[in-house]
Subunit: 389 residues, 4 copies
């Protein structure tokens, strides 16, 4: 047990979770965006918030950017600012869904001119990656149609393949393309990359540096996400996660909030494939909206939720599990898994934090730190960052 | 057959579909609102658009208002303006979801002060009904919670019951409360009125003038909506419909666009319960978003979709259906229904329109009318109406 | 904390979970029933298995019967046999879905003769209740239709209401009717009692002794079951549960196996309404299929899963939760709930069992007891009990 | 228009729909199989029924077999019998889900011995194909797990790949493997081939003669099936369909009964990819259960439903659709599609049948033929065919 514990603690110490700059800005539903106080007004302030999350959790050392929301004149300066605060810039997220031209699509739009504009943006994102030193380009397309007949499904796939290929060719040797899929919204009849199969097929055609990213909120009801994780790991095509959680659709709630057991099962597949360590190349990213709850605290909570699920996954007795599985002992195999899940890992994590020189209670420490009060009084005037606007 | 035809045509001539003022304004998803040209800038212009829909379809003589989006100083003037253009003001829709105070709820909010504010708005809506002569107050609550534990489910029901009761007491003898339900969005863990059962239970407690309104987009996957229609009709508790259509969640697409067969089955329950005529008191309302398609034309198309489904439902051979059902002849009973559904009713509807002095082709006539071009050039400056903003 | 612990342990000691006789017989899917060894061949042997579950768990003192599967000549003898083994007979479950006459329905069938036959069976079940001393008659109707038009939805509701009323009138003063609902299967277009709203409306019409039973596997995707629990508790109309769990449809897996967090949330509503104790009158019943796993062990595991979820629900700090909720502190309120959920209650439960004179490890003790081996060799010949056939 | 009509009629005349032998046998749900009169008792009688369907519809000239349900000593004799009655033997469907050994899986079972047994069955099916001259081997695996942890997801994929490869190698040059996927049932936590992506990935690894078959009932709620059709056609990996329809899960109702608009959209993708004609190599097969309705009549109705949807799809004005799509005219493009869908194609189909020397009304003609009465009196004694048992 002591050996297990040492192994688990070592793995947890090495774990890396990437936060998202946009999680700190205002967000909402189509019905209303409820503004919060102290929200950052520019990329620098977002990075300051992300650094705060890392300061209290110790496992969130990078922050993803969203272009054009996080465009700055000098990315080296932004990177230096981040470094100063203890974090680094992470994945670059393209945005081809908020320009008026993209009403009927971006790279799959029927008009060649609009497609060219979208492609130019994607290429610009790679330029920015060169400047920031980011490894990953994350692509999500809102492209799709709302009505049967609206556009030609196959023609749109051709256009998509063509754009992806152009972007792929532009990537540097150390850069990757992470292709995301989403069943619906904002398109309501069909999206051009609705499921992992579509993303996988395109990535396969593109080459080794194209991989699938799984947003845990982007599936049809009943989808077994950990199966997809296992399948893509086996195929060498899992690039990473956009973590969040959902009860209904793409609810974008805090990861682990809706179904902590599912999160645990996902992390079990990761652990069993030895894909947790940064060297395995899986990007563990948060992509969530904190519409009604305080944002920084919510991100801290989310990081902890991933960490707790990981700790439980690491505790699974792999040998006992394997033995029960081979013996066809259904109940025993399930029991081995559940034994790890039912374990309260919080004491161990508190100890880990103490070892790492952190406060054992990140949420409490953040609250006591006065950071939120401080930014709330400092960030007056200007306009709060949000989704695009 | 001639007798059937006469009966069907008479019923179709009497049919009434209510349009919604907000369908003519800009709308979108949380990701982006794509602005359209010629969009109305005030309630008067919305009514002008609604009147245009009625001018070409002949079956959409009323238009619902949304408060505060359609607040004006002088409702008598607005009503007179509508009358001049051939339409009348319809249901009043309350809005307790776009004020910053309502972040955690309106009538179910934990704070009594917020609840009081919400209630005051609802009462104001009844005041407006008095001014407009509207019969129906339509209530949809975005109230709910995003996280387990966030608030007390039962306490929120108590608060809801209390608010509904206060509003109900304020209604005049000829006024009704129509209570809407919605499974999710913008609340993602629980909504306070998630399903017809909840709405029904509250309406039952309130009294005869409280009835359930069915928004066709507000159900869990797999829900049989026509069952709910039939059940509520049997119980005398169906107040009306908010029509739209969905593939996934509350997509708010044009009614009949996603599943025309479902719309037909709904109208079959209406027809078989003899609830189509205005005297039956069922309000047939549209509640949709036209995010990417031209709005007025989309509303015309929606009215036609309801009309076509109704025509098919009226064609069902009720005696043959009843005989097959009683005989337990599964395939014959289904065949009787499908026979009506497979019928192309468009020729009959063109004839009906000609008889009513309308162009047989409402969409074509609207396009040829130059109305859209005219408002596009006239409605320059000011700010386009939209959801709330 | 010591006071909390005492309260929690006292509540857990009082908890009662009812097992189901049919869980011990063979079951399967439409594709195949995989037979297991040692399966009971008659009601007496089922009761012996149920008693074994109680012997090792201490909280499953009653067993539900299914008629006609568990018909015997002398119910007093059966009850005496149960008593001898430390358990009592529980709810009587009617079965109107396995007779050839019920192909198109039972109490809602178009034919009056078939309806009469179905009603006679229901009345016979009450006769049996008189003989067994059972309090609860559990009614689930497979009635419904497969094709649109197949039968008249409203007429079927009338027939249903009429049958329910006749059965209700037959009940003794101390007897209850528990009405179950199910979204689909075996009927695939419409079921006659598809949701809690329908069951609730009928129970309301019938009277105080008619209550709704929630089968946790019978809902549309995305349904918030704990909301229904809370609503029905508030309305005084929750009669009990048929526990099981599901990933997709009515999977009938072991309760707590698919979504343990959901089970916890359900038990939280029970605890917060003070409805856990037997005096509250809620029947906590298991209704599951053990198609591929050993049955007795699976039932023990299921009882433990309910017990563990209950223990966690009892640990929720109600005062802290209430304070956070009233303050609108979304994250704190959620945290209070999660704190209880994340607690490992297994040590406390082991201690409870030791106090009750039980083996702290029911599954291990059962395995070591040799019971399964013993019945496997004893129950040779005869035909194994199963679903009806 | 006359040219269009000629083109449409020619295409419809060439259309081929394959019936399934097992559709004529008894089937049911896990709750009950309701036996019907006149049901075939052996493969010869099933073929007689299938030939009857072809006799009245003219477009169902082949019938699929299910092994071992349709095992005979002399397949040449069976084929000759079919030919005599005007039909031919079609796809061979393997069955590795009804042997007691397959409780925990067949080709993915943890035990090598069970896997070998399953593989032997698959190879035997190819032997039978050699004897029957069948082109297609259809593989559906019930393999999967019911509980998290029960078995190793990745190991099962390895075993699956290995078995598929062995079978693929055994295929003759003119033979194909059609791999089916299914989200759930009878496995309830995970199936080993849950979605098209998994089937596609395996087929891609195997080679050109491995293709995906789409069972229209095997998807998660909200899945856009026509997208999958279009995607697989573009990738050259669509092998065929198992047609049926569903409201909830794998309901296996008559194709077109639940959502005729969806069936139309699927056929639109087929037509627009020029994949309707037999030369395109897509197998259009029925795979349904007729649990409560007369079987032969239900199969006729199903064939007609596919035919009607095809006729509508053929009527789509492709040039107008393309123009509207390129112009980004959302409503016009949708209107072009809907115009075809709303057309009543039954008169045209009646004419087609008359031209083909058939009764214009296949259902009526079948009823008048006395065939059902004749087999009902002839097929007395013996045991009715059903699902496996």
């Amino acid at each position: 047990m002591s050996e297990t514990r040492a192994r688990v603690l070592a793995a947890l110490r090495e774990q890396r979770i990437e936060t998202a700059s946009w999680a700190f800005g205002n967000s909402g539903t189509r019905f209303k965006v409820f503004a919060q106080e102290g929200v950052p007004r520019n990329p620098y302030e977002k990075i300051a918030d992300a650094a705060t999350v890392h300061r209290f959790t110790g496992v969130a050392p990078t922050v993803a950017l969203h272009i054009p929301w996080d465009k700055v004149d000098d990315y080296a300066d932004l990177a230096a600012y981040a470094k100063e605060r203890g974090v680094a810039l992470g994945a670059i997220n393209a945005n081809v869904f908020q320009d008026d031209d993209f009403k009927l699509g971006s790279v799959t739009h029927p008009s060649p001119a609009v497609r060219a504009k979208a492609l130019a943006h994607l290429v610009e994102c790679v330029d920015i990656m060169d400047a920031t030193g980011s490894r990953d380009l994350k692509l999500w397309f809102s492209d799709g149609t709302n009505y049967p007949g609206q556009d030609n499904v196959r023609a749109r796939q051709d256009r998509l393949a063509s754009a992806l290929s152009a972007v792929y060719d532009r990537l540097g040797d150390q850069q990757r393309m992470l292709l995301e899929y989403k069943l619906f919204e904002p398109a309501f009849y069909m999206t051009d990359v609705p499921d992992w199969g579509t993303a996988y097929a395109h990535c396969l055609s593109l080459g080794d540096r194209a991989q699938v990213v799984i947003d845990t909120g982007h599936h049809a009801p009943g989808t077994n996400i950990e199966f997809i994780v296992a399948f893509l790991l086996r195929a060498g095509k899992l690039g990473g996660f956009d973590f969040n959680s959902r009860f209904y659709a793409d609810d974008d709630l805090m990861v682990g909030a809706a179904d902590p057991f599912q999160l645990f099962r996902i992390m079990c597949e990761i652990v069993s494939a030895d894909a947790l360590a940064p060297a395995a190349g899986i990007a563990f990213m948060l992509d969530q909206c904190h519409n009604i709850e305080p944002k920084i605290q919510a991100v801290i909570r989310s990081v902890l939720n991933v960490q707790e699920a990981t700790a439980k996954a690491l505790l699974v007795d792999a040998a006992a599990l394997d033995a029960a599985q081979r013996a066809g002992d259904v109940l025993e195999a399930n029991e081995v898994l559940m034994d790890a899940y039912q374990t309260d890992v919080r004491p161990m994590l508190r100890e880990l934090r103490a070892d790492m020189g952190l406060d054992p209670d990140p949420v409490g420490a953040f609250k006591r730190s006065g950071y939120l009060e401080s930014v709330t009084s400092a960030r007056v005037g200007g306009s709060a960052a949000g989704w695009g606007a």
